[in-house]
């Protein structure tokens, strides 16, 4: 096995895109900037990665270039964040429809306004419905592994969908972590050369991106939906194969000390590590609490989630994005809907915290758990609330 090296997580993400021998990278750096793109351009400049690096003039063009290169059969990677991701929004819908297996690292950051460069999930939660497979990393190792995994899943002939790998801005993207980085030779055991099913080729002309009249639009949407749903099998089996080859096991939902837990905290991303510490602390105080986190967000792992939550009496769901005027944060709403009408469904409370780079501490997690227990006991409470709002 390769030895661990201390490396900035953004650079590790670039190294993953390099290890799979990406053909085209199109990216725009400024919205806001991460080191992923910088390092990829270095790898290309130094001849370590034989790829076309296209320094586009906007994120909108970044995704457009990616679709063009993927449509001729090139393995394509890009990275984005916050405002840039939102600028891509229009084109994000089109990549799955054209079945272009692009892989994108999304460094999760807050949406303006007010303008912010810091971490939360408001960028990605606005992109839930674009038809991409979406995974969330907890630490640097996972970022590297999930990017490798993303190429394997995206290019599977049964899938052919684009994949977003989410990593938290700053708390992951800008920290140095010890990471076992697989090299190109090791990755080749897992990632086979990309064999596109249909490409733009003058010898075999095809029309891509045709007009969807009302008679065919619904069916076209249904195909994306069913393929995205069915991709879960490939996502899971690709993780199993990853574990077999490299020894690290990944699942759609990860649990921590949920055995015998009456209360379970639900999180996503890097804050889960703080949440684990909080769980340990509370367990020491004899609060029967556990932790659950989504690694796979799209397709939503419904069966796995329902299984994992069985027997839990109280759920405290953390959202790192506000859904203005809604019943709660996006994760909360989906979780509650997933359990609606289920026998013995837990009492669910939603909490929004950690917006725009505000730290979430173990105390805050304890507060969420205690409140969730109290609301459950009383049989009523606010549907959701913001945690850690300064009074003055």
């Amino acid at each position: 096995m390769p030895k661990r090296v201390g490396i900035e997580v953004s650079l590790a993400a670039s190294e993953a895109a390099c290890a799979v021998d990406s053909d085209v990278i199109a990216a725009y750096p400024i919205t806001p900037q991460t080191h992923i793109v910088e390092h990829l351009s270095e790898l290309v400049a130094d001849g370590k990665l034989d790829a076309e690096f296209i320094p586009v003039e906007s994120e909108h063009s970044a995704m457009s270039v990616c679709i063009g290169s993927s449509a001729v059969g090139a393995r394509t990677f890009t990275a984005s964040s916050a405002q840039g991701l939102a600028l891509m929004h229009e084109i994000l819908f089109i990549a799955p429809a054209l079945r272009t297996p692009i892989v994108m690292a999304v460094v999760n950051r807050a949406m303006s306004g007010p303008i912010s460069i810091w971490n939360d999930h408001s960028d990605i939660m606005a992109e839930r419905d674009v038809g991409w497979i979406q995974t969330f990393a907890e630490n640097g190792q996972e970022v590297f592994d999930l990017i490798i995994h993303a190429f394997r899943v995206a290019e599977d002939p049964k899938v052919l969908l684009p994949v977003m790998v989410n990593l938290d801005g700053f708390t992951l993207s800008h920290v140095i972590e010890p990471i076992e980085m697989l090299n190109a030779r090791e990755v080749r055991r897992y990632i086979k050369p990309y064999k596109p099913q249909m490409v733009l080729d003058p010898k075999h002309p095809v029309t891509m991106g045709a007009v969807g009249v009302p008679e065919v639009y619904t069916e076209a949407k249904q195909q994306i939906e069913s393929v995205l749903r069915a991709s879960k099998k490939v996502v899971v089996s690709a993780w199993k194969e990853f574990a077999r080859l490299y020894g690290r096991t990944y699942r759609p939902i990860e649990t921590y000390r949920t055995k015998g837990a009456e209360v379970v905290l639900m999180t996503m991303g890097s804050v889960s590590e703080t949440a684990m510490t909080a769980v340990d602390k509370m367990r020491d105080k004899e609060i029967a609490v556990g932790l659950m986190r989504f690694r796979l967000w799209r397709p939503f792992p419904l069966e796995e989630f329902r299984r994992a939550v069985k027997g839990v009496k109280v759920l405290a769901v953390l959202d790192r994005a506000i859904s203005y005027g809604a019943q709660g944060g996006p994760v909360f709403m989906e979780v509650r809907s997933a359990l609606y009408g289920q026998a013995g469904q837990p009492n669910i409370s939603g909490f929004v915290a950690g917006l725009g780079g505000r730290d979430i501490t173990t105390d805050m997690f304890e507060e969420m758990v205690k409140k969730a227990i109290r609301y459950a006991k009383k049989g009523k409470g606010p549907t959701y609330e913001l945690i850690g709002v300064r009074e003055k």
């Binding site: 296209i54 270039v65 063009g68 090139a74």
Partner: protein
């Protein structure tokens, strides 16, 4: 750099036009559409070995309503404002795949096509980016001077005084109150090897320019005048005639810019008055004498400026 434009370029003549048809008949263009005519001729000239990235617009919807397609060449449509970016990706993707031995080596003409809205307005940034990066592709702007596909809304390429559904003439308005944006000049400022204007009435000239654009390495830009009888309130059988008049009145002069040098490809000795051109189109029906005179003066001035640039190029050529 411009071998294709000077030596070694075999011009088409009316007798040697290619038989190849990239665009099948039976598409859904309006009667008398000058845009699809211009497109067909430009693509015929470029040959079968091409890949097209199309913007949203008239030419996209009339050719690709699933499950039918009018395209006999590989063609992709992604969105409105990004044809140049998609073409960039196609070009870069093929380049690296050839380098890595996963695609047989050889040159394919990569074409990006868009209307005037997709070029002068919403697609200008993507176009500028692709030109600046120097991709080997041909960008075709099919300029019918408004957003025709969506019901004749004004664009920045709509001519002064024209009536559109968003530049209606009224008590306080003459119609379009801005002058047509000069996109070829903006493109030329990117110092790309080839820029040309063309009109379907001069179809051999149009096809030769298209062929040249395809042969040139690096970005090439064709700005093609594309009459729209529907949007211009013009009799459908006058599409070709109006495009001839646009050239003969100097409203749409034909020229090339080769490595920065302006060359007039159709010199008009005795220009016809603009009134003759404007009078055939319902979109200009409301214009009074004073406005027509204003348009005449500006057309004369702009043509003079173009002539100066072109003359300058000729003088420089003689002295070197």
């Amino acid at each position: 750099m411009m071998k294709a434009a000077s030596g070694g370029f075999k011009k088409f003549t009316p007798k040697t036009l290619p038989k190849f048809e990239p665009l099948a008949q039976g598409h859904r263009a309006c009667q008398g559409c000058g845009e699809v005519l211009a497109l067909r001729m430009a693509l015929k000239a470029m040959g079968k070995n091409m890949i097209i990235a199309s913007a949203t617009g008239c030419m996209e919807i009339i050719t690709s309503a699933y499950p039918q397609t009018a395209w006999d060449v590989p063609w992709i449509h992604v969105a409105f404002e990004n044809a140049a970016a998609v073409a960039s990706g196609i070009e870069a993707g093929r380049k690296v795949l050839m380098r890595k031995g996963r695609l047989p080596k050889g040159r394919t003409t990569i074409v990006a096509m868009a209307g005037d809205g997709g070029t002068a307005d919403i697609g200008l940034q993507a176009l500028s980016g692709a030109l600046e990066r120097g991709h080997d592709f041909v960008y075709i702007c099919l300029d019918n001077e408004a957003y025709m596909n969506t019901g004749v809304q004004r664009s920045s390429a709509t001519p002064y005084g024209a009536m559109t559904t968003t530049s209606p003439p009224g008590k306080l308005s003459i119609g379009q109150y801005t002058w047509k944006k000069n996109v070829p000049a903006i493109v030329e400022a990117h110092a790309i090897p080839y820029v040309a204007t063309a009109a379907p009435a001069y179809y051999v000239d149009l096809m030769n320019k298209a062929k040249k654009a395809a042969m040139i390495r690096g970005p090439a830009y064709l700005h093609i005048y594309s009459p729209c009888p529907t949007g211009w309130r013009l009799a459908p059988e006058r599409a070709v005639a109006i495009s001839r008049l646009a050239v003969q009145t100097n409203i749409f002069p034909l020229y090339e810019v080769i490595d920065g040098r302006y060359i007039l490809t159709k010199k008009i000795k005795k220009p016809k008055p603009v009134e003759e051109y404007l009078g055939l189109q319902g979109r200009f029906r409301h214009l009074d004498k004073k406005t027509i005179q204003e348009i005449q003066e500006r057309v004369d001035r702009e043509y003079e400026a173009l002539l100066q640039k072109a003359t300058l190029a000729e003088v420089q050529e003689e002295s070197t």
